[in-house]
Amino acid sequence: MLEGEQLHIKEAKRGNKEAFGVLYDYYLPKIYRFVYLKVNSHPETEDLVHEVFLDAWQNLHGYRYQGFPFSSWLYQIAKNAVIDFYRTSKKNIPIEDVDENILRFDGKNSESLDTELTIEKLKLVIAQLKPDYQDVLIMRFVDDLNHEEIAAALNKSEGAIRLIQHRAIKELKSYYDNYGTTAHQT
């Protein structure tokens, strides 16, 4: 959580652009990663992230502090933006279109893998998970949100988030290992 966050929000609500700029700079990378891992395209991510922050700026008066950080509110906006994006454009990356070279590696020797290759593979594997699983994994391990923050962002209990995280990790591992094996065999 950003230090002095509530103060920045209070100032930004009064129209202080600098205060909102601080919030923007702090949360942009997190929201960007969240959206990018869901839509898998930089230009579309940029459009969506711009919309998210514009929406946040214009409707900042609607944000009420209820014990959860500003991030929970932003993630809710981002999540809705991604849902709208898929609802309207129905865009997705078919797995058949992915370059096979990306998938050609053995999961057992992951320590020696190139980071870029790992990221590409992870992106593909995450895309196969249920939306809730994706949200929890990205928020927890990529954006470092705690369970309480994730629960607030996804309107679920902390217990439910822990359960989803456990299942998501298990499913991710299963998909990850299968991708490696399948690609290696073919």
Binding site: G21, L37, E46, W57, H61, S110, T118, L122
Partner: protein
């Protein structure tokens, strides 16, 4: 061996383009905020909602109270209860009196029979012994 959790942290390297972030921020901050008017409208809407809810609750309570009092008058009022009317009470008292006089009569007749039996037994002691 690297766990899935550790692998996922590698995704932190995904970063937005700096040119994009600067351009986007400038565009956003040049847009006006939609603040006081909506807030005021929202306040009035909330106030209307609240007053509507309160008046509906009051109407409901009035209906409930008047309904209960009406039913109470009709069903529980002593003047309207058939068992508590004066005529019915008189009839009930009369039947009670009759029952009491009957009881008195039976008690008297039992005593008279007892006396008569004693007298007959003392007049004929042999018959009484047999």
């Amino acid at each position: 061996m690297i766990t899935m959790e550790q692998l996922l942290t590698k995704l932190k390297t995904i970063q937005p383009d700096t040119k994009f972030s600067e351009r986007s921020k400038a565009l956003i901050l040049s847009t006006p905020q939609t603040t006081p008017r909506f807030r005021l409208t929202g306040y009035f809407l909330n106030a209307i909602n609240f007053s509507a809810a309160v008046s509906l609750a009051i109407i409901f309570i009035l209906f409930a109270v008047s309904g209960i009092s009406f039913l109470g008058k009709k069903v529980l009022s002593p003047s309207l209860l058939p068992s508590l009317s004066q005529e019915n009470l008189k009839e009930e008292i009369e039947t009670i009196n009759i029952q009491l006089s009957q009881i008195q009569y039976y008690q008297d007749s039992v005593k008279k029979i007892e006396v008569a039996l004693k007298e007959t037994s003392t007049d004929n002691p042999n018959e009484a012994a047999n």
